[in-house]
């Protein structure tokens, strides 16, 4: 069967601010919203648009990422025709910050593009939290007749980590790093005509470390690049602060509903955690709680990952506690991110401030 589009996800780039959360794992493998990892968003957006062939470009430290995606079964990508392809990424991309789509990564994995007959290739990064109707965007691209369409939204804040679009009419004329409020900001999803994308990488086969968009704008043949404005919730994660803010955003009903719209499920690796259990005396307010948690203490304004235990008398405030942590009786946690498998002993205080979130790094699995 001919596919309309195939997908290619880059998960091998580092972000501008080194962050304790991504010291031992790629950002794409970062746990998010209790039960997900960042990679679930691009994978789900693609499969929800009917894409059944997805290449995933992985970095050197891919263990946790591959542990998560496996054969792609949970995203319906364990298939006879198409499916999930794990592709090697360049070291360069992981050593230099700021890339989204490095030409060399696409050149090295050209096989994925030439072995398929799809009309379109959807490229995406893995830092943006969004539930996107990609099928509608592909249709708009198809109708436009352009070579490429960049999906963007209006920036809601000054941000140096993202790319802004300079446009003339319905054409994109350049991409620049950094945006201010109200600018058109790329959300790191682009749709290409497959033939044009192959053309570009063949013309620039000798160019070692160039960004794809740079090649597109430099090419002798003038490619027509359009944009597609997305109006829903989309926000990127580049450092601990944005990670914290994006997680806390989900407590807002409109964000919860937009991201976890039952019509377009965000898929993730299946787990059999039983429902969360609240014991007598627990006090839990304004918080997100994942399955498998057992709570006897107090939790306010926080997000708990799968299987977290909060013992009687423990207090967790304005914090993110990731999977399988145990907060012992009498421990207090405030404005903190507690990475997976940590045991916070009785009587401990872990306290950050709203402007300086404390991070407790991932503990060894025991």
């Amino acid at each position: 069967m001919k596919n309309k589009a195939i997908g290619l996800i880059t998960a091998n780039y580092k972000t501008s601010v080194p962050c304790a959360l991504s010291k031992r794992r790629p950002m794409a493998g970062l746990p998010f919203a209790g039960r997900y990892r960042l990679i679930d968003f691009p994978l789900s957006n693609m499969v929800n648009a009917g894409i059944r062939t997805v290449g995933l470009i992985v970095p050197q430290n891919y263990r946790s990422l591959l542990d998560h995606v496996g054969t792609g079964r949970d995203w319906m990508l364990d298939r006879k025709n198409g499916g999930l392809f794990i592709l090697p990424g360049t070291v360069y991309g992981g050593a230099h910050e700021g890339f989204r789509f490095l030409l060399r990564d696409i050149i090295d994995n050209k096989a994925l593009l030439i072995r398929d007959s799809a009309d379109y290739v959807v490229l995406s990064g893995s830092n943006v939290i969004v539930n996107l109707d990609l099928a509608a965007a592909i249709e708009a691209h198809e109708a436009s007749g352009n070579s490429a369409t960049i999906i963007c939204h209006r920036a809601t804040a000054i941000n140096d980590d993202v790319y802004g679009l300079k446009v003339e009419g319905d054409r994109v004329v350049s991409l620049t790093r950094g945006v201010k409020y109200g600018d058109l900001e790329s959300i790191d999803y682009c749709i290409f005509n497959r033939d044009d994308l192959i053309d570009v990488i063949e013309n620039f086969a000798q160019a070692d470390y160039m960004a794809l968009e740079e090649a597109m704008f430099k090419a002798e043949q003038a490619y027509q690049i359009g944009y597609y404005e997305f109006e829903g919730y989309a926000a990127g994660i580049y450092d601990a602060k944005s990670y914290y803010d994006r997680t806390m955003d989900i407590r807002r009903p409109e964000v919860y509903t937009a991201l976890f719209n039952p019509d377009r499920t965000i898929f993730t690796k299946a787990h059999d955690a039983p429902p969360a259990k609240y014991f007598k005396g627990s006090v839990v307010r304004d918080s997100l709680v994942s399955a498998g948690c057992r709570i006897s203490g107090t939790v306010r304004g926080s997000a708990l990952g799968r299987g977290v235990v909060v013992e009687p008398g423990a207090v967790v405030t304005n914090s993110i506690v990731m999977q399988s942590c145990v907060i012992e009786s009498g421990a207090r946690i405030e404005n903190a991110i507690i990475d997976r498998y940590n045991l916070v002993p009785s009587g401990t205080e872990l306290r950050g401030t709203p402007d300086d979130i404390l991070i407790k790094e991932k503990a060894e699995y025991v």
Binding site: G34, R35, P275, V289, A303
Partner: protein, 381 residues
């Protein structure tokens, strides 16, 4: 096909009429239980955790949701080629088509499935029970006794014994008598409806039973009494752990409440013997700024803005502001709107209690209130 030591046949075709509205559109084994599970998860997980990799699931009553839920068995790791889960429904032959006429007839009509796998023993299970059991231990006892049939039993309170099939055994665990719902029980060992048969004996007995015009084709009513009359080696295997039949609205509610408390009788959190399920991916649940939760189970996708006490809130359920839910079970997608009060009730899947409406009563002398799937409870109902 390689020879199997033991395959399981799971009886999942009954209507389950005693669950009333809960089984109006849905077979009993597919009824939601425990916040995120469905009843059939318990026997299927027991099979997977006991190393039984071939399970025939006999379905008949409203099988669509049940079949869709079982899928290819992958959710229980029961999807290997040549084994795994197979759904077995009534089928047509050159002689025509007939429904399953009883538990024994259901197995009889699927003897070809058993013969194809050619196992040494056949484990027969019910699809409406909540328990955690290593069938491997029962199988070891069956083999040690060189039994033709082993019946799992458990001690029940003497005052309840006349509601069950009661077995009398000798010192060697061999069954000497079987009394179906005796008025004056002489033992309190009740049959759990879980049997291990020697496969050859099972095939012979079912083929004989099928042509017996006086038989009602039931294991408890016909097959077991006949085996005992013929002095075949029938033994009991005594099970001491938590086991409940969840076949009535009252037992469903009571067993659900047994999952709550500080030290519940049934531990959902066991890592060694996990209960697996085929659930859709939903996000963590959210408890609002004024939410009160006390002694509850709450699953993914739920949103709670009111008060929930001593209750089970299943996947994607909703409890509005100022609403109170107590001693109740909300099945997946059930909605309790702002200011409503739900007490000692079971709300079916996607059932709705409208704003400020009271449903059910904390009065334990009254029956548990029950709203079926998709039912809307408004004022005056």
């Amino acid at each position: 096909m390689s020879k199997k030591e033991c395959i399981a046949m799971l009886l999942a075709g009954g209507q389950g009429s005693r669950l009333r509205e809960l089984t109006k559109k849905n077979a009993k084994p597919a009824v939601s239980f425990g916040g995120k599970f469905r009843i059939i998860d318990f026997p299927l997980s027991n099979c997977a955790n006991s190393g039984i990799d071939t399970v025939g699931v006999l379905t008949q009553y409203r099988p669509y949701l049940l079949h869709a839920y079982i899928g290819n068995g992958a959710a229980w790791d029961l999807d290997e080629p040549g084994s795994g889960v197979t759904t077995l429904s009534p089928y047509a032959t050159q002689e025509g088509m007939r429904e399953f006429a009883g538990t024994a007839d259901a197995i009889y009509q699927n003897l070809d499935f058993i013969k194809m796998h050619d196992p040494e023993t056949v484990l027969i299970l019910s699809g409406d029970q909540l328990y955690r059991m290593d069938y491997g231990k029962m199988l070891a006892a069956h083999k040690a006794h060189n039994a033709g049939l082993t019946i799992a039993v458990m001690p029940v309170p003497w005052e309840d014994a006349s509601r069950f099939g009661i077995l009398l055994k000798d010192d060697d665990d061999r069954v000497v008598r079987f009394d179906e719902k005796p008025e004056k029980p002489e033992s309190n060992l009740a049959s759990m409806g879980i049997y291990i048969f020697d496969a050859k004996l099972l095939i012979d007995e079912l083929e004989a039973d099928a042509i017996d015009p006086h038989s009602s084709h039931d294991f408890g009513g016909d097959i077991i009494p006949k085996l005992l009359a013929e002095e075949k080696p029938v033994y009991v295997y005594e099970f001491q752990d938590f086991w409940r039949d969840v076949g009535t609205v009252a037992s469903y509610h009571e067993t659900s409440m047994d999952l709550l408390g500080d030290d519940p009788k049934f531990d959902l959190y066991s890592d060694e013997f996990p209960i697996m399920s085929n659930v859709s991916t939903r996000p963590p649940h959210y408890l609002g700024p004024d939410a009160v939760v006390d002694d509850c189970l709450i699953d993914n996708g739920a949103r709670i803005f009111g008060t929930v006490r001593h209750s089970i809130i299943s996947t994607d359920s909703y409890v509005g502001e100022r609403a109170i839910v107590e001693d109740s079970v909300l099945l997946p997608g059930a909605v309790v709107k702002d200011g409503a009060h739900v007490a000692r009730a079971i709300l079916g899947e996607r059932a709705v209690v409208e704003e400020n409406v009271k449903f059910g009563s904390v009065d334990t002398t009254k029956d548990t209130a029950l709203a079926g799937d998709d039912v809307v409870i408004g004022r005056g109902e």
